[in-house]
């Protein structure tokens, strides 16, 4: 199987481990990822904030390159890039005038035929129903699946999962033996693009998310987005300072968690790159049989 692939800038830098773990798992599943040749930055929040045309044109070039390379489906692991690309694609397909204008700006014909897949959809493909992959080391932890805002909204454009209470990552986690908690902050915003310029606000928002997960007994937060990861992991000190409280809960990319369950090593998956060490509280092994319960029920059990 083959998929087009758009890494995005942060996967070359601050989110290297997302790329590393994704590639390993994909390889194990025999999935070939072909990078869009000569791809550029999607412009991220910055372009979106400052210049609308730019924020559409930069993704348009990427999508045009994908079309040119004949890619039917493109996996975009960074949620931020995924969101920008999908939005631009939607806007351009809806608005022929804009499409014309942008085609001129990027000096290429924009068709926008490639279907974009986010990292969760990508993992569903790689590690789906008929996957050859076997869970070797069940990831038996209580986890909080954190989707963030960019993966599900706007629902009209992205058409991915339920926008208020998504389940797809939870399902993947159950598949590797984890126990996803039911919590209300799955799609709350972590502060995203204000990470550097208003770290104070990011610390507040991300802090709320951490607190909510920890309070409900989560032992790890599973994320799908480099921005979420950097805000919850790299900004941990800021969060702790703002909250006046320490948090040891690690933040893993879903690809890393799946990689671990598939028996890949921490080192290969890039876990050492996290600022918050990936350690779990030691649990005494209970002899009771596997509980196949719904997320709601398990959450209820914690509250008792």
């Amino acid at each position: 199987m083959k998929l087009g692939y758009f890494p995005g800038c942060s996967l070359l830098g601050s989110a290297r481990e997302l790329e590393e773990s994704l590639m390993l798992v994909a390889k194990k599943a025999g999935m070939e990822l072909t990078t869009i040749p000569d791809w550029n930055c999607c412009g991220s929040t910055a372009a979106h904030n400052l210049n609308h045309l730019l924020s559409v044109s930069l993704p348009a070039r990427i999508l045009a390159l994908a079309d040119k390379a004949g890619m039917k489906e493109v996996l975009v692991p960074c949620s931020a890039c995924y969101n920008r690309l999908a939005m631009a694609q939607y806007e351009l397909l809806e608005n022929p005038d804009l499409k014309k204008e942008v085609s001129e700006i990027i000096e290429m014909d924009f068709e926008g035929t490639a279907k974009l897949l986010n990292v969760v959809e990508g993992m569903e493909k790689i590690f789906g129903e008929d996957s050859v992959l076997k869970v070797e080391k069940p990831f038996e932890h209580k986890v909080a699946c954190y989707y963030g805002c960019l993966l599900v909204r706007p629902a009209k454009v992205l058409k991915f999962d339920r926008p208020e209470d998504p389940q797809s990552m939870d399902r993947l986690m159950k598949k590797i033996g984890a126990d996803p908690i039911d919590w209300p902050d799955k799609v709350e915003c972590c502060g995203a693009g204000l990470s550097v310029s208003r770290t104070d606000l990011v610390a507040k928002l991300s802090g709320k998310i951490l607190e909510s997960a920890v309070k409900r007994g989560a032992e790890a937060i599973i994320v799908a987005c480099p921005m979420c990861h950097s805000n919850l992991d790299m900004r941990r000190e800021n969060i702790e300072k703002a909250a006046g409280k320490k948090y040891s809960i690690p933040v893993l990319y879903l690809t890393e968690a799946i990689g671990l369950a598939l028996g890949l090593s921490e080192k290969e998956l890039g876990l050492h790159r996290h600022l918050v060490p990936v350690v779990f509280p030691i649990r005494e092994k209970k002899a009771e049989p596997e509980k196949a319960e719904s997320a709601e029920e398990s959450a209820g059990a914690v509250e008792e």
């Binding site: 550029n40 930055c41 904030n49 609308h52 045309l53 930069l58 070039r61 995203a192 208003r198």
Partner: protein, 191 residues
């Protein structure tokens, strides 16, 4: 950024409609957006009030909206539009207001840092085709010496974790990207 007088005597309301296809009149001020907005409490005016200022179009209110901090704090998290009963695309309007605010030179003083950051982010993209995290931090620090110290603190850690590469990535289509920037900038400022 130069003002276009014939544009300015157009009401902000109709400018928004032109620029975004969204009508601020659709909003009936239920406040659901403000209730769910993660940053409403940090904003000088909660999102629904920004819309109200546009709706009324009374003297002074438009400038107040364009000069607000709110429009720069908006994270484009889309929580508001996802729940808005009238399907008002607030983030899109916020986008437009930011650009309008820049065009009219009305940006809120505290927003300057945010804008500086965005510019610092885009600069390397313009010249190399991709974002450059080390450069970004250095550049932003240069533009904004006061609040960058925190990033200076974590930058070395990131470096040692292998998360920062010291050289920017140069793509082949750099020339194209440069032209994309030029055209987009020119066209937007004319709007």
């Amino acid at each position: 950024m130069e003002g276009h007088p014939e544009d300015q005597d157009q009401s902000l309301m109709s400018r928004v409609r032109e620029g975004t296809g969204e009508s601020a009149y659709k909003c009936y001020q239920c406040g659901k957006c403000s209730a769910g907005c993660p940053l409403a409490l940090e904003m000088d005016y909660p999102p629904s009030q920004i819309l109200r200022m546009i709706q009324l179009g009374l003297p002074g209110l438009e400038e107040k909206a364009l000069g607000s901090l709110s429009i720069w704090l908006c994270l484009a998290c889309e929580t508001c539009v996802a729940r808005c009963p009238k399907e008002v695309d607030l983030p899109k309007i916020m986008d437009f207001l930011r650009q309008e605010s820049l065009r009219r030179g009305l940006t809120h003083p505290t927003a300057k840092n945010i804008i500086k950051f965005h510019r610092a982010f885009l600069d390397p993209v313009k010249y190399t085709g991709r974002a450059f995290e080390v450069g970004l931090i250095a550049d932003y620090k240069a533009r904004n010496p006061i609040s960058a110290f925190q990033d200076v603190l974590i930058a070395p850690k990131m470096f040692f974790k292998g998360k920062l590469s010291l050289a920017p990535h140069m793509i082949k289509g750099r020339g194209e990207i440069g032209r994309i920037f030029e055209r987009a900038m020119k066209k937007e400022s004319k709007k």
